[in-house]
């Protein structure tokens, strides 16, 4: 498979009045096309930092990031950030508008996404009338509208309750697979990471560097909800959990 993204020795320091914070150090990873990768690690270790550097919101201090030519990246955050003054459809158009790419063809594409993923009736509604799970799906479609090849998901489901979370996670995963996208997902939930991913990256305490990478091989691997009942699941869970060594 072709290489999508190659990160070499990434380093990031934040500078504030209080001092210098080393957020990321010696982070290297080669990502293949079509992969779903999860990043887990202690809280505050620098996970979000890695994603914001990848999508260009933050500058790296040093290191190399080589992207496949014309790689388009879409970023999705924990909060959906939907604009309350725009309808669902207009919210999904925002990326296209900003990139001056709001052609009829792209509009149709967005509408078809909304239709496929059960939001057609809500196209002209405002975000306030949607449930948390639906809003998160809208946020994903807004990200997909500009046709990115790689999706960066920063704790995309942590605003949802436990049950909705399972269902929406499954939905989102299916959407990503169906649209043939690659994804990097940051999560606190080890089970979520194992059930979704091809690779799970475990980070060290801050400054974040790679502690361990787990290629996830499950017998009868299908979608996240079913993956949870695969027989290897719990052994992965135990290993990764131990690796993160939470200090409470």
């Amino acid at each position: 498979m072709k290489l999508l993204l190659s990160i070499h020795n990434l380093k990031k320091n934040y500078h504030t009045k209080q001092g210098e914070i080393k957020a990321v150090e010696h982070f290297s990873y080669d990502m293949k096309e079509g992969e779903f990768v999860s990043i887990v690690g202690p809280s505050g270790c620098g996970k979000s930092t890695i994603l914001s550097i990848l999508c260009g919101l933050d500058k790296k201090s040093s290191g190399k990031i080589i992207k496949r030519e014309n790689l388009k990246i879409g970023y999705m955050l924990q909060q959906d950030g939907l604009f309350p003054w725009r309808t669902i459809l207009e919210n999904c158009y925002i990326g296209l508008e900003l990139q001056n790419d709001l052609t009829n063809e792209n509009k149709e594409y967005v509408k078809s996404l909304l239709e496929t993923y059960g939001l057609k009736e809500f196209m002209n509604a405002y975000p306030s009338s949607l449930s948390g799970g639906m809003r998160q799906r809208v946020a994903l479609i807004r990200t997909l509208a500009t046709k990115p090849d790689l999706l960066l998901l920063d704790e995309p489901f942590s605003a949802l309750d436990a049950h909705t979370r399972l269902v929406v996670c499954d939905d989102v995963w299916n959407i990503i697979k169906k649209e043939h996208k690659s994804a990097i997902m940051v999560t606190h939930d080890v089970e979520e990471a194992i059930s979704c991913s091809d690779q799970v990256i475990v980070l060290t305490e801050r400054p974040a560097s790679i502690k361990q990478i787990y290629p996830i091989q499950l017998t009868d691997k299908t979608s996240p909800i079913h993956n949870r009942s695969c027989k290897e699941f719990s052994s992965y869970y135990n290993q990764i959990w131990k690796d993160i060594d939470f200090h409470v």
């Binding site: 914001s52 999508c55 260009g56 919101l57 879409g74 970023y75 955050l77 909060q79 950030g81 604009f83 309350p84 003054w85 725009r86 925002i94 990326g95 508008e97 900003l98 990139q99 405002y126 306030s128 009338s129 500009t146």
Partner: protein
């Protein structure tokens, strides 16, 4: 179309609304009635406290000698001009300060000082600069509203959700796109509340200015009335002012209702 239960609910809502209006009317009438009676029986001094009837007579007199509408018109005109310029200028300056962050850091303390300075103190100097006329009045009212507009609007820009800003940037928004597609719509409720504050502040400025310099306007009526000890005129002026202020305020509310969509 609706169920019986829902119809009943709607009916109750309407009845409640009318009861409230009824009670409000009752209090107004009671107040006017007591005022009139007490004044007529000379329990309160009618010369100092006037009476509804005398106020009405004064209004009719002003109407007959054609000056009523001139006074109201001039005050409304001054208020709208200052209000309009103050809002536009204030919004514009706030936007500039947002665009160039360091400009804000430079001017922040000056703004704070200007904001806390009672603007009446500037009255005499403005009159010397702009002459004892309508320009001074407009300028004084403008001074009051523009500073507060800058501060309110800028505050609104500053409070825009960081998540939404990051989202816009991650989608490749330029600074102008960020401003036009996020900052302006996101601070719209803030803008409306600034309008509401501004309309009353501008009116304060205008009346203050009219006290100081003018030869016409509601402020002048009040000032003139007090100088010749015609309390009927003073109270009539206050009454007219209350009506003008209320109409302007409700006008802003009306605009707000028309413009703010489902939120």
């Amino acid at each position: 179309m609706y169920s019986e239960e829902h119809k009943l609910y709607l009916k109750k809502q309407i009845i409640y609304k009318w009861i409230i209006i009824g009670i409000q009317l009752f209090f107004i009438l009671l107040f006017l009635f007591l005022w009139q009676i007490l004044s007529e029986k000379e329990i309160i001094n009618p010369f100092i406290f006037s009476s509804p009837k005398r106020v009405l007579e004064t209004i009719v007199k002003l109407h007959k000698n054609q000056t009523l509408y001139n006074h109201i018109g001039i005050t409304v005109y001054e208020t709208l001009i200052s209000f309009g310029i103050g809002t536009i200028l204030g919004y514009f300056i706030a936007s500039i300060l947002w665009w160039w962050r360091s400009l804000y850091d430079i001017f922040d303390p000056f703004l704070t000082v200007l904001n806390s300075l009672p603007k009446v103190a500037l009255g005499p100097i403005i009159i010397i600069w702009a002459g004892a006329g309508i320009n001074s009045i407009i300028l004084m009212a403008l001074f009051i509203s523009v500073i507060i507009t800058i501060i309110h609007i800028y505050q609104g820009f500053k409070e825009v959700d960081l998540i939404k800003i990051r989202l816009m940037k991650s989608l490749g928004a330029s600074k102008f796109q960020l401003y036009s597609k996020l900052m302006i719509p996101a601070t719209f409720p803030n803008f409306i509340s600034t309008l509401k504050v501004n309309i009353s502040l501008t009116l304060i400025g205008v009346i203050m200015g009219e006290f100081l310099v003018s030869k016409e306007g509601i402020g002048y009526l009040i000032m003139y009335g007090s100088q010749v000890f015609n309390l009927n005129l003073v109270i009539t002026g206050i009454f007219l002012l209350g009506i003008v202020a209320a109409i302007m305020y409700y006008f802003v509310c009306f605009i707000e209702k028309r413009l703010i969509k489902n939120d």
